[in-house]
């Protein structure tokens, strides 16, 4: 089999790799894959590439809630000083601590 014959399938393999090949529009590709071990191997390796990245996950060592809230607390004075320009907001007691 000539490489050129397979090359046109390469793009299609790449585009359809995450789809269900049983759909009618994929018929030609499916047929080719069933007859061509090379393209089938390529299809398989492309699929595996995606699966490997999907399986590779990381867990956080510990929660960051404390650090994040502490950083937001540092910003608090900004929120308090802003209304100073708006005398009508001075009655807002919610922000005073």
């Amino acid at each position: 089999m000539k490489l050129v014959d397979h090359k046109k399938y390469l793009l299609e393999i790449c585009e359809k790799v995450d789809r269900d090949l049983t759909s009618p529009t994929c018929r030609k590709l499916r047929e080719h894959l069933s007859q061509c071990p090379d393209c089938a191997a390529y299809y398989d390796s492309l699929k595996k590439t995606i699966v490997l990245y999907r399986d590779y996950d990381v867990e956080m060592k510990g929660s960051r809630v404390k650090e994040i809230l502490a950083q937001l607390d540092l910003e608090e004075p900004l929120h308090i000083t802003l209304p100073a320009k708006h005398p009508d907001l001075h009655g807002d007691k919610k922000r005073t601590r």
């Binding site: 397979h6 390796s45 995606i50 996950d57 990381v58 929660s63 960051r64 809230l69 937001l72």
Partner: protein, 188 residues
């Protein structure tokens, strides 16, 4: 309390409510950040920055999208920005360079069995990290959002402000590139 109530409370300055939201979504944000920067320390930085930005921008969250989708968008922006700051290289795009040369050649190879989830060893993890880090960050984001996290092409486009054809072409190149990078490992 459900998300909508927590968000409303956080919008009016209730930090405890916001803390609840952080608790619920921090693992998701951390994991996504890691998948893009492939570095635990950077992922941790992005995580903290994401929630701080989220808190600041909470008023602009309309509830039209899911809160998680909104967070993904902030992570994406943070990763793009961090990359620009540190690398001084333009993010978009390496299409004219050599990076993708040869990826559209059919390099035939049979990989045999690849390991499954829990048994990914350190060596293979390093190979996966190294391969994806060679990709420009916008290609990385497209691949991770679309193929790893399962977002639709349209959603990825919205997040990155890219057209659907642009997302498709990046996805395509990223897939072929990564596959070729791993090919060496699995056929050596």
């Amino acid at each position: 309390m459900d998300d909508a109530k927590l968000i409303e409370a956080a919008k009016s300055g209730d930090k405890k409510a916001f803390g609840q939201l952080v608790k619920q979504y921090e693992q998701m944000v951390y994991s996504f950040s890691f998948k893009i920067c492939r570095d635990k320390q950077k992922a941790d930085e992005v995580l903290q920055e994401t929630f701080i930005n989220a808190y600041r921008g909470l008023k602009s969250f309309s509830g039209n999208s899911k809160f998680s989708t909104w967070l993904y968008r902030i992570v994406t922006n943070n990763c793009l920005m961090m990359h620009r700051k540190k690398s001084h290289e333009p993010v978009v795009s390496l299409e004219e360079t050599d990076l993708f040369k040869g990826t559209e050649e059919l390099q035939v190879a049979h990989w045999g069995e690849t390991p499954h989830d829990a048994v990914l060893n350190k060596e293979l993890k390093d190979v996966l990290d190294a391969a994806i880090q060679k990709l420009p960050v916008d290609y990385r984001i497209v691949f991770v959002m679309r193929d790893v996290e399962g977002f639709s092409t349209e959603e990825v486009g919205k997040s990155l402000k890219l057209s659907v054809p642009a997302v498709k072409s990046r996805l395509h190149r990223a897939r072929l590139f990564l596959r070729n990078e791993l090919n060496e490992y699995f056929t050596k």
